[in-house]
């Protein structure tokens, strides 16, 4: 946790690596150490006591380890299958962070990247058999197009849950509901819990 706060990528990676070499499985590490550290980090973020640069460091450090995990050692899949992308605009860092934190939590996620159209996002969610379509935006005019996503899902795949996030939703907490999203998350760390609970809803 301290190495997250210090933006110490090497320190974080070394601590995780040492635990793995001591025989701790990656799955246990995620459940017992990384996820609680993420929860602490998110609480500090909510209180305004950590910055995006520290969240970014945490994501990079954990991604280093999860991406390098030997085949068969990755945590078992937990929660719904997620298709994740940035709608219209090219500001895809938020979605990248959500993807990293989802994978670290053992959630199966298909990342589509930036500049996705409503039609492409919905088509991929259907084709991948996803239970959740997660959308990130930075610009308000991009957020407005969530309405189109809602309409396509209602028509073609009413069972897929729609979650949104990004600056416009944080600035106006009523915006997600006005645009027809099933849920929204104020940051990438909270997105993991929101997505996992969303899939349990009828």
């Amino acid at each position: 946790m301290q190495s997250f706060l210090d933006c110490d990528r090497e320190g974080t990676r070394a601590a995780i690596q040492a635990a793995l070499e001591d025989g701790v499985t990656l799955d246990r590490l995620v459940v017992d150490a990384i996820q609680p550290a993420f929860d602490d980090l998110d609480a500090l973020w909510g209180a305004g006591q950590v910055a995006l640069t520290q969240i970014f460091l945490a994501a990079r450090a954990v991604d280093d380890v999860v991406s390098a995990a030997a085949p068969g050692t990755a945590p078992p899949a937990r929660g719904p299958k997620v298709v994740l992308g940035t709608l219209v605009d090219g500001h895809s860092l938020g979605a990248r962070l959500v993807g990293i934190f989802l994978r670290a939590a053992g959630v199966e996620v298909v990342e589509l990247g930036g500049k996705q159209s409503p039609e492409d996002l919905c088509a991929r969610a259907v084709a991948e058999g996803a239970q959740v379509l997660a959308i990130s935006v930075l610009m308000l005019c991009s957020a407005g197009r969530v309405l189109e996503v809602r309409q396509i899902l209602d028509r073609d795949a009413p069972g897929i849950k729609l979650i949104v996030g990004g600056a416009p939703f944080r600035q106006d907490p009523n915006l997600a509901a006005r645009l027809g999203a099933d849920a929204w998350a104020p940051d990438a760390l909270q997105a993991v819990g929101v997505i996992q609970s969303l899939a349990d809803r009828p």
Partner: protein
């Protein structure tokens, strides 16, 4: 009664004008006056100047805004711009493909960039009509934030946090030189104040140590090179806790976030920094006039006492879909509740 210019100058110098000035920052809305698509309008200085004049006439606020779109600065570095029918344009693709490409970068001449030359023409046209009567506000993207447009956010954070310090410092230096040149070019063309846009300096984006290592030295360097007040803006990011250091580094004003306590921001500014803000430009799209008046009154109650306050949005850009009736309600609120000496119920 003061002119808008006198009113804004008095507030920016931390004194009480006749009433709180209102800055409606409307770079896009003039397009509606001509029924022009935004991609045409934002490349037409004459239409933008006439749009500002008409909006000023209709809304009765206290400035004209000599700003087209932020991505224009990235065009000076070779970027292309993507336009949208109902919002601000964006960089289509960052001009630097990776951090290593920053090594050969030199600060470009802003006046040689077509998009920025159009902004200078806009300033000259506005100066011809309004100089000395209505303040002309311009913008420049600050050195810690400009690389976001040049590299993309993820590449920039990788370089800033984990990359080659020499490369990082070179890119920051290029952006610092460019920022000072561009801001001063706009002042030379007739701008009265420059919004110094540094979203990376908000408390949500960087730690106090990173703010002090990267953002503050750049501000200290740029401020004396620009012969007009710099208004420090974090585009909706919180900055209250950093206001005292921002004042010390040479800014004349600061724009507060809607998430900031405006009264606390004023206390932190300590009369050395004018405070502007902090209407929520995102939520504003859904407001009705009554809500706009309520929000404006909250801002006035927190910001107006003692002077040195300007009522405006937190971001530096009111959204395309904001209702004209909401804009009118904001101006009316300042006219009614923002007169000095303030009525006790403000």
């Amino acid at each position: 009664m003061m002119t808008p210019y006198e009113r804004v100058v008095t507030a920016v110098t931390c004194r009480e004008p006749d009433r709180v000035p209102v800055l409606l920052l409307l770079p896009l809305q003039g397009a509606r006056e001509f029924g022009m698509p935004l991609d045409q309008f934002l490349r037409d200085p004459a239409a933008m100047a006439e749009g500002q004049a008409r909006l000023l006439e209709r809304c009765g606020h206290d400035c004209v805004y000599a700003f087209s779109y932020g991505a224009a600065e990235a065009e000076a570095f070779g970027a292309s711009t993507e336009f949208y029918p109902n919002g601000a344009p964006n960089v289509a693709r960052p001009p630097l493909r990776d951090a290593a490409a920053a090594g050969a970068l030199e600060p470009p001449d802003p006046t040689a960039c077509e998009a920025l030359a159009r902004t200078l023409e806009l300033i000259r046209l506005l100066a011809g009509r309004f100089k000395g009567r209505v303040p002309i506000l311009a913008n420049a993207i600050a050195p810690l934030s400009l690389p976001v447009m040049l590299l993309g956010m993820e590449h920039w954070l990788d370089l800033l946090l984990f990359g080659d310090p020499g490369l990082r410092d070179h890119l920051l230096q290029v952006c610092e030189v460019f920022c000072a040149r561009w801001a001063q070019a706009q002042v030379a063309a007739g701008a009265d104040a420059v919004g110094y846009f540094e979203p990376m300096a908000s408390t949500e984006m960087t730690t106090p140590a990173q703010f002090r290592q990267f953002a503050l030295p750049a501000l200290r360097s740029v401020a004396p090179q620009v012969k007009a007040p710099l208004i420090f803006a974090t585009a909706g990011g919180k900055n209250s806790a950093r206001a005292a250091e921002i004042a010390e580094a040479g800014a004349a004003g600061i724009v507060g976030s809607a998430a900031d306590d405006l009264g606390e921001l004023k206390r932190q500014a300590g009369g050395r920094l004018a405070v502007a803000g902090n209407l929520n430009n995102i939520a504003m799209v859904a407001w009705d006039p009554a809500e706009a008046e309520r929000q404006a009154r909250c801002c006035l109650a927190a910001g107006a006492p003692g002077g040195g306050y300007l009522l405006c949005d937190q971001h530096g850009e009111i959204a395309w879909d904001t209702s004209p009736a909401v804009l009118a309600a904001i101006v009316e609120a300042a006219q009614r509740w923002g007169r000095y000496p303030l009525a006790p119920e403000t």
